[in-house]
């Protein structure tokens, strides 16, 4: 008898469509209809995005027409957005800020989520609830105290000033706590016996076990920072520090908005995230999916 046979569990193998029947072969009209409806729904879902892309390649005067395919597609707007070079800078700023914030938030959210999930100590429920309750205060109300703080510490008009409020997030802490519930304690205890300290256990044992979750959280936080507007606006003075969303508002002037430029800027801002998403789709979806596994 050998023990080398490797066989994934039957459930995993049979994971086709749930309740997928096997008795009737061939094209089932129910499936055809279902697929068609889903495909139509999907098209409706992406319509606004297509519209945005279409608007970005229209001439300003054509902006107000309902046609989706522009009469004469042009990269004129892209030229205008990119010509003065500020956009590149904003893009870079957004990238730096969103990346650093994401790394920090993922790090700390995982740290806190882990501590709240895996250490038993008095007051942890309280800490957890207190952190969660911060979800219930709108950011707008926090701006003034943050601004005062940033001024007192000399963070105004700096990268750090833009980033500091987002260095940790309650949502991420919640998610990470959920994820760590799925990590069996045995892994941690084995490492404890092997002589690692708690920090090493977290970093080199627990963290690698939740990588899909980390990637999902990273996407959420990155997107959140990539589109953040009001705080970066308030805390920056020089245009060199603008992020894309703040920069885009310079395309709206008194009482009138240059929509074709906003659309172009938005398209430029969205395209990288779309590309990243499409490349890492499976990974991201798996991570996002983990978020819902345990309520």
């Amino acid at each position: 008898m050998t023990d080398t046979q490797i066989k994934p569990s039957a459930d995993a193998l049979m994971r086709g469509p749930a309740g997928g029947g096997a008795v009737k072969p061939g094209l089932d009209p129910v499936r055809v209809i279902r697929w068609t409806l889903l495909a139509m729904g999907a098209i409706v879902m992406v319509m606004p995005i297509i519209y945005m892309l279409s608007a970005s390649v229209k001439y300003p005067h054509e902006m107000f027409e309902t046609n989706i395919i522009p009469e004469s597609p042009t990269f004129f707007n892209y030229g205008r957005v990119l010509e003065d070079g500020r956009f590149y800078r904003w893009f870079l700023n957004s990238l730096v800020i969103a990346t650093v914030t994401t790394v920090s938030a993922v790090f700390f959210d995982a740290l806190v989520g882990y501590a709240l999930c895996k250490f038993k100590f008095r007051g942890r429920y309280l800490v957890f609830i207190a952190i969660l309750s911060t979800l219930m205060i709108p950011t707008e109300m926090l701006i003034i105290p943050w601004y005062m703080m940033a001024r007192n510490f000399g963070w105004l008009d700096t990268y750090w000033g833009i980033m500091f409020p987002g260095m940790m997030t309650a949502f991420g802490t919640f998610l990470m706590k959920q994820f760590f519930e799925t990590v069996p304690d045995d892994f941690l205890e084995a490492a404890r016996i092997d002589g690692l300290n708690e920090f090493q256990i977290w970093w080199s044992v627990a963290m690698p076990l939740v990588t899909p979750a980390l990637s999902a959280l990273a996407i959420f936080i990155f997107l959140g920072n990539w589109t953040a507007f009001i705080w970066p606006l308030i805390v920056t003075t020089s245009q060199e520090l603008y992020t894309i969303p703040v920069g885009l508002t310079t395309f709206s002037v008194e009482q009138s908005i240059q929509w074709e430029l906003i659309m172009t800027g938005a398209a430029l801002a969205t395209i990288p995230t779309l590309v990243v998403f499409l490349i890492f789709q499976r990974y991201i979806i798996r991570g996002v999916a983990m978020a819902g596994l345990k309520g």
Partner: protein, 350 residues
Amino acid sequence: MATLTLRNLVKAYGKTEVLHSINLEVADGEFVVFVGPSGCGKSTTLRMIAGLEEITGGEIMIGDRVVNHLEPKHRDIAMVFQNYAIYPHMSVRKNIGFGLRTSKMAPADKERRIDEVAALLSMTELLDRKPAQLSGGQRQRVAIGRAMVRDPAVFLFDEPLSNLDAQLRTQMRLEIKKLHQRVRNTIVFVTHDQVEAMTMADRIVIMKDGHIQQVGTPAEVFHQPRNIFVAQFIGAPSMNLLDATYADGQIRAAGASVALPLELPAGSALTMGIRPDDLSVAPGPGLFSGTVSVLEPLGTETLVYVDIGGGHEVIAKADGRTPPRLGETVHLHADAANMHLFDTSGEALR
């Protein structure tokens, strides 16, 4: 390698005490198996030895050091978990080497040590695989390898075989046993499977509800169980137990009577126990007779479930080639010397 001593060990969760004054000495190089039903406190004891669980009372000594307040890493132990706890994101080599991370060995020595252990477990060619590419038995061996690599004084195993299927389990228990014969570390092994306990242990510790019921070699606990619990727990199928009364050198149970002089007052209530192996189906009037209700052929032998009337069913063994038929009336024979007797409190009388 070292002795292990538990002295008046107590564990309480909140107010409920789950381990009550456990005392045990494990000799250097001994293979001790803890066995008992689910929830009896086996894992808790093991985890206290490992330093994963706080000690409520008493003392644990490894060698001649009291380790009560030492961190796991300083206790010179290694542990193998039920679900193996091998890291899915690391190769086998890294998994095994994980136990050496904090050691001060030179990297080259570490590598050599890993290769050594891998060779011992015949896994050299698997070293670069990830756990997902291994079978259950192989994963189990990786877990053992990770424990072995540090050459600890005491090995702790917590039901390491219970996730394997029957065939693999048999094979792995043999491997572990052979390994122990080679390396001779002190081993404490937890299981709830009495066959595992019997086949592997130098000594078996049988626990129930946080108390040790009996400590002894496999032969001792099988042939001289200290009480009904041990008698029933050890041996498969379980010992047949019948209510009996004693009077005038005769024990009466389920309509049968056996001459056995005991120093007991007449009319004493007893429990009589006979192992299925000691109850054979043979022609001619024996101890009991009854009709066969179920047959379980095992090949060479067949288990015969016999309804002996009065709501009693006993299990006997018959030859595998010529078993009785279902519904047939059979006679069961037993040797008085093989009978076990227990008093009303369950303690063995002899």
